[in-house]
Symmetry: C2
Subunit: 276 residues, 2 copies
């Protein structure tokens, strides 16, 4: 049991007082224990947000539920954003206890846990013009985070991910994404990506360096999905065959663009044509 | 002394045979010792390239001198690119010796050392149309590497860096940049960035979200420099005041774009207007 558990939030909805933790094994902060090891094995529907900028996104701009916050105690008074925590419990601890809980030196001194939303089907997308990056078998968390960040910047309706793409709610994807996985809706696509997009009335573009048509030369459909594959092998040919292929022209001899940069360029181009 | 030093390359320029290293303290591979610690304290004019894709760039597309290569011994026969090493000595070692040399587990199993080129002054830039990202006080190696990668992709004349920008020849910048710091020329700018650009006949654009003019609405000068500042504080006001300010429009409530993505978008736009 927690030696100093909160008595629950006050009935008027103002945040409850911080609870000081002195024992890394305190069950109250079990959500935050062994952060990296649990990153590896996966959590059941929980994400971990790290650092001030991501905490700020979570508390001020994200619709997702915050389950708990854990902060190095000397920082609390310099974090006015904590006033936005609602009924989420706030735990504070000395740095050494924090490091003992997390299992590594937590130099940012700030962790929050929240609930991963259920992914939406494409049928839940809004009507009208929209842009949607579709991640196909993207294994790199930094790239997935970067795609969410660009989706947020250029007003994408969401980000669609297939079953083999890296989890956007993994700690590092959230951090590299500047918190965007907590604000941009996640849509799930199954094996029949093209069928699902057709059903939703969305034109699929395959970003591929081999395409004859290049970005900047042609108008883009108002409802557009941009399929993004890994930087080496790219998108599978059958998928490209069912899409409008689209190239971002690069200099001869250069292998490829970073896939998050590719997303940024094509989403920006669509926003220029159809408005943010 | 090396227990099995090479006898020097054959006179016909074909590569010398690999030299097997069994002692992490062998002076022959001193260049590769304690990689991370030397990353921290800095090297005297030497860079370390890591992994196959960067090695390939170094040996096949970079004008820079390769000083030595060190590879985990079981990989050598699967690395045809090593035939391109010219007179650079090739050392091979078992994984455990490799890890002992590098000071950490070198899971990529491939290191190369090369010579950092002297940075060029802007007066050495070619005549005619060109695009040039200018890094102003960019502390993050990943971002600097990403800017070089985009500079390579969109045919920039080089990348200019000021004295406070992170070293593009740092191992991680080279890796994140997919080797582009080894192919794209580095130009150094001093305190009077705007004076140096004016002298070189280059129009300076300041990328800043507050600009009235936005990318996509206006033609860009044929000889154009794009000043890029840190994502939080951005460029200093006096610098913006001397430039054509230029915004990439993003959705309300979103803090900023990643600076490497910003570089990619603006370099792509310039290439569309003036050719790759």
């Amino acid at each position: 049991m927690s030696p100093a558990g909160p008595d629950g939030p006050p009935a008027d909805g103002t945040p409850a007082s911080p609870v000081r933790v002195t024992d890394p094994d305190d069950p109250a902060i079990a959500l935050f224990r062994d952060v990296k090891e649990r990153d590896r094995i996966g959590r059941q529907g929980i994400f971990i947000a790290e650092g001030l900028s991501v905490l700020t996104v979570l508390l001020t701009r994200s619709p997702l539920e915050t389950l708990a916050i854990l902060v190095e105690e000397s920082r609390v008074d310099r974090l006015p954003v904590l006033a936005e925590r609602g009924t989420a419990p706030l735990y504070v601890a000395p740095q050494a206890v924090l490091d003992g809980i997390a299992g590594f030196h937590l130099h940012r001194g700030i962790l929050a846990a929240g609930r991963v939303p259920a992914p939406r089907p494409l049928s839940a997308l809004p009507h009208g013009p929209l842009r949607l990056p579709v991640c196909v078998n993207l294994a790199n968390h930094d790239n997935v985070g970067g795609i969410y960040r660009n989706a947020a910047a250029f007003g994408a309706a969401g980000v669609a991910v297939d079953a083999t793409t890296a989890n956007p709610f993994y700690r590092k994807a959230i951090r590299v994404g500047a918190g965007a996985p907590l604000t941009v809706p996640t849509y799930a696509v199954g094996d029949d990506i093209l069928g699902e997009l057709r059903e939703a009335g969305i034109t699929p573009y395959a970003l591929t360096p081999q395409a004859g048509a290049s970005l900047g030369a042609a108008p883009l459909a108002a409802r557009a999905a941009f399929l993004l594959g890994t930087e080496g092998p790219g998108l599978p040919d059958p998928l490209i065959g069912g899409c409008e292929p689209l190239a971002i022209r690069i200099a001869p001899g250069v292998d490829s663009l970073n896939v998050a940069t590719t997303a940024g360029i094509v989403l920006h181009a669509h926003a220029l044509q159809h408005g943010l």
